[in-house]
Amino acid sequence: MPGSLQKQNHPLASAKGQIELLNDNDSIGIPLFEHKLNEFGLDPLKPTGIDILQINVGKMCNQVCAHCHVDAGPDRKEIMTRETMQQCLEALAGTNISTIDLTGGAPEMNPHFRWFVEKLSQLEKQIIVRCNLTIILAHPRYNDLPGFFKKHKINVVSSLPYFNARRTDAQRGEGVFDKSVKALRMLNAAGYGKGNPAWKLDLVYNPAGAFLPGDQTSLENQFKRKLAEYDIVFDDLFSITNLPISRFLEYLVKTEKYEDYMTEMVNAFNPTAAANAMCRNTVSIGWDGYMYDCDFNQMLELKLNDASKHIKDFNLETLASREIIVNQHCFGCAAGAGSSCGGATT
């Protein structure tokens, strides 16, 4: 797999290039997402509260997945500094935000990751780490991650797009399935995925192609049955729709599936899913401390529509009354049973 789109100087590496393409809705005959919200009385979309702070600690990753909305990879050097992490800690102190969701890139590659987790765990909030699994085996210094996660009662959420090597490797790179199986066994051996809420191991399914995910419960049952053949157990499966951003957008365009995929999402628009969109209870923090309505808006550089734009100016009151910025990619979160970082929303 070639490096990131940024490394390739691809036109879709820039947020501007992606937004220009997404905003040209007329040429593919689909409505504006905003108009669709309006049709159901949901425009403007406003927060219901702020329960989750999702923090992207950097774009560096040991993998270069074909669908990655972050355009992450080993060549990406954007990394959250300890100073910005400190600002996140200060913002969180005294709030009733229940969940901190750490993502990347591979968040574990940030040199301050363990320090940050240790500080966060003192806040006694639920901590999620979005671990890509292969990082655990990428270098001996990461081999003890299952124990570290266990010590801090981290909810490990890991992508495994399918229960076989063919589809997993096509999306995440050659050999990723086998390494993921090994890493999952290590997590299981540490006590993860066995029903204990302190050591929860959840998997993320996302389609390995230009189609929408099916019923989450049915997929979870299939995954549990198939992964049992590898002696692997896990707690919940989150089914997530691929949003037309960054590398997945580039894949859609390159394979001439963009128009059909956008149309499929529009046809599957579900107002209940739109009303339950994760941006209504989440704030996303970028590696440089800027705030966004979600990780996808972050990658499209759609900064918050609020007076406080940076974590150092974090203000729960104004954030809770802001208007959420929407665009055409939002059809992904509102399609079918809905999609969020925690899976289906309906």
Binding site: R167, G209, F211, P213, G214, D215, S218, L219
Partner: protein, 110 residues
């Protein structure tokens, strides 16, 4: 390239109600009810539909149910096994008629 079957025509399927609304509506109501979860799961019904689609050689149905099964997370081996069921029944049906041929031969020869 001009072809008899055009993939984009699949999207026009619901338009068959245009010239016979009453019967068309009845068909789609029935179709929807057939594919609801029942004694068979939605997944089982879709795999049967895929096999039948290959038997009746309907490219629209093949496209539709391949997509539907991908949505449901069904893997390639399962889909191909369903196609083999269609192949076995179809091939078996031809071969079973070999008995008819054998009967005729035996009747006509000394």
């Amino acid at each position: 390239m001009e072809t008899y079957y055009k993939p984009e025509d699949l999207k026009k399927f619901s338009g068959i109600t245009e010239w016979q609304k009453k019967l068309g509506d009845k068909f789609f109501e029935y179709y929807g009810a057939v594919f609801e979860e029942g004694a068979l799961t939605k997944r089982e019904k879709s795999l049967i539909a895929l096999a039948v689609a290959h038997t009746v050689q309907c490219p629209y149905c093949i496209d539709a149910y391949t997509g539907d099964l991908l949505n449901q997370g069904v893997d390639e081996e399962q889909m191909m096994e369903a196609v083999h069921v269609a192949g076995a029944i179809r091939g078996g049906a031809s071969l079973a008629h070999g008995v008819q041929m054998m009967n005729q031969v035996k009747e006509k020869l000394m």
